[in-house]
């Protein structure tokens, strides 16, 4: 054959050509631009319009933000500095309000020499949740996780150390009754006892016991009352407590709603529907106004505690429905499989059902968490000084009256950072737990 070719074809390439680069329109940034931004006429117009909008917004705000004044004692001073630097017509931010009121925005009225305590509490919290959030962390940290609520409470509110210890003892008693009571009085009574005994202990014994222990060994720190807590510290306390408590409560409610036991089922359904059917702001007003009338006069039931309870209830009702969605998504075979293995109810839930249901519910759960964290700003309406409340207080001083966007931008940024990290973590968790083949 080659002979034929040798006569009929004048030239045959015997080596491969070196690989040429793709045409300029088919590679690199230009390809990306063509494919993503200018793929059609409509797309190109939209791209140019968007660019113009972005430019318009940035040209009006970027200078305002970047040239902002950080060092001034009042809005008037800010304006004087601006006049000196940029002239009267310039519009620049007065970030000095953040510098001036930084402490208050973060800690509220918390005593200044004690700022290390809430910071330490936050660190303890992060270390305590790390074994839950990440696998690589030593498992021994779970001991810290169990004690962290009491440590954090003591760090933030102070007072005698015996208070949290005596309260924590109640949980130890509950555990002991549950574990050892089963052999003595039977499993059902042990479960009931595990609820009743510690509650009786907290109501009747805890107070006097704390007093006695404190008189024997008065160890404690300066007490800080709830009125003095404000700013982001308040948002974090309400948000974190609400998140931590609403999760287990939501699981229990979701399981209760699926339960065949009539009373448990109806109680859970009623709780969820009533709490979820009424706006959060109404519950907050209930907590702050109505409860005052139902409680005997003179009882000093901390407003912050009341608000935390309401926020927790509200979030747990939503949580219950999110988790119920996860439970419903599981094929019936999983339940039957668990039963056929001879697992009892709690074992099957713990080992088979919940791990799968919770995994399915992760986006919804985190969604509820983020919503709850942002809802903490509603407490401003019952007179608590959360960041928004403090922005009002700061604006009410003659120094800073008239300042507006700077405070809201700062508060918005802080909330965004928190919520965005939660969202990112949930995506990480979803990737980590993705076991099915796709």
């Amino acid at each position: 054959m080659s002979d034929v070719h040798a006569q009929t074809v004048s030239y045959v390439r015997e080596t491969m050509l070196p690989e040429a680069e793709p045409p300029v329109t088919e590679r690199g940034a230009i390809k990306w631009l063509r494919e993503n931004l200018f793929s059609s006429w409509l797309n190109a117009i939209l791209t140019i319009l968007s660019l113009y909008v972005i430019y318009y917004v940035l040209s009006h705000t970027l200078g305002w933000m970047l040239y902002g004044i950080w060092d001034a004692g009042s809005l008037t001073e800010c304006r004087e500095i601006r006049n000196e630097l940029y002239g009267e017509d310039a519009s620049v931010a007065c970030w000095a309000v953040l510098a001036d009121r930084w402490d208050q925005l973060l800690f509220g009225f918390y005593p200044q020499d004690l700022y290390w305590r809430p910071v330490a509490a936050l660190l303890v919290f992060f270390v305590a949740v790390s074994p839950i959030l990440f696998e690589g962390v030593p498992r021994k940290l779970f001991y810290l996780t169990a004690t962290a609520p009491f440590i954090c409470f003591w760090l933030i509110w102070g007072g005698t150390i015996w208070g949290p210890i005596v309260v924590a003892l109640g949980f130890v008693i509950a555990g002991a009754v549950f574990r050892y009571g089963a052999e003595v009085v039977g499993p059902l009574l042990a479960i009931i006892g595990a609820f009743v005994v510690p509650i009786l202990y907290w109501l009747l014994l805890a107070g006097p016991l704390t007093a006695i222990l404190n008189s024997i060994a008065p160890i404690g720190m300066q007490y800080v009352s709830s009125d003095e807590i404000g700013g982001f510290m308040l948002a974090f306390i309400i948000g974190i407590t609400g998140i931590i408590l609403s999760f287990p409560l939501g699981i229990l409610l979701a399981l209760g709603r699926q339960s065949d036991l009539f009373i448990i089922n109806k109680t859970c359904v009623t709780f969820i529907e009533v709490i979820r059917g009424v706006p959060l702001i109404v519950w907050l007003f209930t907590a702050s106004l109505l409860l005052n009338y139902f409680l005997p006069p003179g009882t000093n039931f901390d407003l912050l505690l009341r608000v935390i309870i309401m926020v927790t209830f509200f979030a747990s009702a939503y949580m219950a429905e999110v988790i119920r969605g996860g439970l419903a998504a599981l094929p019936r075979g999983q339940y039957e499989g668990a039963d056929s293995l001879g697992l009892n109810y709690w074992q099957s839930m713990q080992l088979i059902i919940l791990p799968q249901a919770l995994k399915i519910s992760i986006p919804g759960i985190v969604n509820t968490f983020i919503g709850l964290f942002k809802d903490t700003t509603l407490v401003v309406f019952v007179g608590l000084s959360d960041p928004i409340g403090f922005s009002n207080l700061i604006r009410a001083t003659t120094d800073w009256n008239g300042i507006y966007w700077e405070l809201f931008i700062f508060i918005g940024l802080c909330f965004f950072i928190c919520c965005f990290s939660m969202s990112k973590y949930s995506q990480f968790l979803e990737r980590k737990l993705r076991t099915e083949h796709r």
Partner: protein, 338 residues
């Protein structure tokens, strides 16, 4: 209807609370501090400073009462209350007194079962307009758009004023004063209306205050005063006479600077009675004889309190006007200390 139900509930609750805590003074003394309800921030009247201490005209009254009871003006817990929570906070006993820019009205005094013990600021609703509009009187505001805070008495006053003068207006409802400032400056409304003290404070924060005028018409009476629960007259007397002591002190020329000197005895028997060197006025209130001296030493007399917080030397720059002593043509008139 809704309102009367709310008032009824509050009234019943107030009644219960009133019976339950008739001895506020004992409670306050046992607690060692006064719980004083203030606003959640109002320029010149109540706001925390950079180190977290509350300051302002209303705050000064709280401190004066604390000084009268304890001899210590710092023995106060300030409880920020919103427009919605203020009355329940007082009725339920969460606070011992409210010094919170509250207008003394019939229904609040009678139906809500509170006791207004006096007036510490005579306010009234006014209008502010940009100077370039060229408006000189509120009578020229026909057809204007008006920024107004919702759910306040100012809203009702405004409707009354415009309808009684046969004018129309377009309301721009707004939630807070800060928001109103932004809307007004952005030109969302021609007129901003609220209490005259608030207008002055707002105008003072503008870049160019002279570009805005406060119109001369005051369309409502807003007597602001401290209030306590119905049914504990002893406690009401203490707050009432602490306020009167501050007012009388100005009339008698007692200031925080000279009170210690005057307390050692003067030729004026009324000063002596007020400061406790003569008579037993303090004992009648159940307080020590130097109660008024402590209050005046802590916050100064009424005039000093006014000047320090909202007077002409401050950025707010309110003139005394109706709030001058009766001898100067104002309405402040303390009953005699006798």
């Amino acid at each position: 209807m809704k309102k009367s139900v709310l008032f009824g509930t509050l009234a019943i609750a107030g009644l219960a609370a009133g019976f339950a805590s008739a001895q506020t003074l004992d409670e306050v003394q046992a607690r060692g501090s006064l719980n004083c309800g203030v606003t959640t921030g109002l320029v010149g009247f109540a706001a925390p400073n950079a180190s977290g201490e509350w300051e302002g005209f209303d705050v000064g009254l709280c401190r004066a009462v604390a000084a009268a009871v304890f001899g210590d003006a710092t023995a106060v817990n300030f409880v920020p209350t919103t427009g919605q929570t203020r009355f329940t906070a007082l009725a339920s006993g969460e606070v011992d007194m409210l010094a919170r820019n509250t207008t003394w009205t019939f229904s609040r005094d009678v139906d809500l079962r509170f006791e207004f013990v006096g007036i510490n600021y005579y306010d009234g609703q006014g209008f502010m307009v940009p100077r370039e509009l060229g408006v000189a009187s509120a009578m020229e505001l026909d057809g204007a758009t008006v920024c107004i805070q919702t759910g306040t008495t100012t809203e009702l006053n405004l409707a009354d004023f415009f309808s009684s003068n046969g004018m129309s207006y377009e309301p721009v409802p707004i939630e807070t004063n800060a928001e109103a400032q932004q809307q007004y400056l952005a030109g969302a409304c021609d007129v901003y209306t609220t209490d005259a003290s608030g207008l002055a404070a707002t105008r003072a924060t503008f870049e160019d205050p002279s570009a805005h005028v406060v119109l001369p018409e005051i369309i409502s009476k807003e007597p602001l005063g401290p209030l306590v629960r119905h049914g504990d007259n002893e406690w009401g007397d203490i707050v009432r006479w602490t306020l009167n002591a501050l007012i009388a002190a100005e009339e008698l020329g007692i200031t925080s600077a000279n009170v210690a000197e005057l307390a050692s005895g003067t030729d004026n028997p009324e000063i002596n009675r007020l400061l406790g060197t003569e008579g037993e006025l303090g004992g009648m209130l159940g307080l020590s004889s130097d109660w008024a001296q402590n209050a005046i030493a802590a916050v100064g007399n009424y005039g000093q309190l006014f000047e320090d917080n909202i007077g002409e030397s401050t950025p707010i720059g309110l003139s005394r006007g109706l709030n001058a002593q009766w001898t100067d043509g104002g309405l402040l008139y303390s009953p005699p200390f006798r």
